[in-house]
């Protein structure tokens, strides 16, 4: 099966992810897939969940922290600025405390907590997670392409949905039980209905967001996850290990795409031994790949003659990937 067929046969898979080790071409393939889909008349957003995103480089346009930026007809790109997002959010929390209690300033202890919580690495991750929920919940696009972080981290990101999902369900349940006790006391004391629980309201809001995101990330009908790899022993081993781990988190794996295959045409030319060895090595690894993944290997992209940056090169690569 070819990469193109996956898209044609499963038009409902609107959330597309390219994952893989560092430097294998995740961003390049994300951009190429976005380009191809846009040229097929679909409205596409490609966005990065990586704080060191490189969509800016690939599109040769500064898009960091600028919201969705139009690249060409039907194609938008976005790089989320987690820091900016967290700062605005902190301010929102402070303002809410001031408004709720009519305080002149946020109490020191609380302020310290706000600052400490925001300094944790987990804060950036959960903020990014929430920003992505915002992006996909708006539903303005036909396709959403996630330019993911390298393997281990991507697994962490994907598993976050599942872990948060469990956390929020437990917390909400506890809150609901508390609510029952409150109502019981109200009845015993013949009071009128106890006032609405604002925390429960917030929890249900958070729950809605997390559930939506977790639902998307693990739904084979809506989501396609592709592993990007290059024909090298280390990368293939890592990918095989990762594939097993990803399966445990119900990541809907759709197939593998191989990048940086040295063109065989070169063999007919006068090339150095060095290059002949590399081609032979790649052939051996490609054979192994075919043996272990078979039909799931969907596309092979060649080692290009220059960096894939700018639309003409992206177009060229997309043409090969979706041939």
């Amino acid at each position: 099966m070819a990469l193109k067929d996956i898209f044609l046969q499963h038009p409902d898979r609107r959330y597309i992810m390219f994952g893989g080790g560092g430097g294998v071409g995740k961003t390049t393939f994300s951009a190429a897939a976005a380009y191809w889909l846009a040229s097929q008349g679909k409205k596409v957003l490609v966005f990065s969940v990586d704080p060191q995103a490189s969509l800016t480089d690939i599109f040769k346009q500064d898009i960091f922290g600028k919201g969705p930026v139009k690249i060409m007809h039907n194609l938008w790109a976005q790089e989320i600025d987690a820091d900016k997002h967290i700062k605005a959010y902190q301010q929102e929390i402070r303002q809410k405390i001031l408004d709720m209690y009519g305080m002149p300033a946020v109490p020191e202890e609380i302020e310290n907590y706000i600052q400490a919580a925001s300094a944790e690495p987990a804060m950036e991750e959960s903020a990014m997670f929430d920003a992505v929920v915002d992006v996909v919940m708006k539903g303005d696009y036909d396709y959403y392409i996630y330019d993911l972080v390298p393997l281990g981290h991507a697994l962490y990101y994907l598993s976050m949905a599942k872990v948060y999902d469990e956390w929020i369900n437990k917390v909400t349940k506890l809150r609901e039980e508390m609510r029952e006790y409150e109502e019981m006391v109200s009845r015993l004391q013949h009071k009128k209905e106890s006032e609405q629980d604002q925390i429960l309201k917030e929890l249900l809001y958070i729950k809605g967001r997390i559930n939506t995101s977790a639902g998307i990330l693990t739904d084979k009908a809506k989501t396609a996850f592709f592993f990007v790899l290059i024909p090298e022993a280390g990368v293939i081993n890592d990918t095989q290990k990762a594939a097993k781990l990803f399966a445990q988190f119900d990541v809907p794996l759709s197939g593998y795409v191989v990048n940086r295959v040295i063109p065989h045409d070169l063999l007919g030319q006068n090339i150095p031994e060095y290059l002949r060895h590399r081609i032979a090595m790649q052939d051996q690894h490609l054979g192994k790949l075919q043996a272990s993944f078979g039909d799931q290997v969907l596309a092979r992209a060649p080692e290009m003659e220059r960096d894939v940056t700018g639309l003409p090169m992206i177009e060229k690569l997309a043409g090969i990937m979706f041939a």
Partner: protein
Amino acid sequence: MSEEEKKSLWQNIRETVYGMAAHDMSRAALRTRASMEHLFILITMGDLLGIPILPPYYSLRLLPYVVPQIATWKRRMLREKDAADAMF
């Protein structure tokens, strides 16, 4: 007997019955509710005591609502033994 005195008599009877029958129950329920409140703050705001909380982004969202309870909660979490433990 004036209307007001009648009312207050009725009120007294009502309160006595409540005191005999339901007061303990509602007190127990309130105590359980208070314990749950502290548990709830612990699993959402544990960071305040150095217990890492998974999605800090979302727990921060709840912070404004628990601001008044934070002080009592911290006291309760940090004290080693509670005099009330022996009483109840």
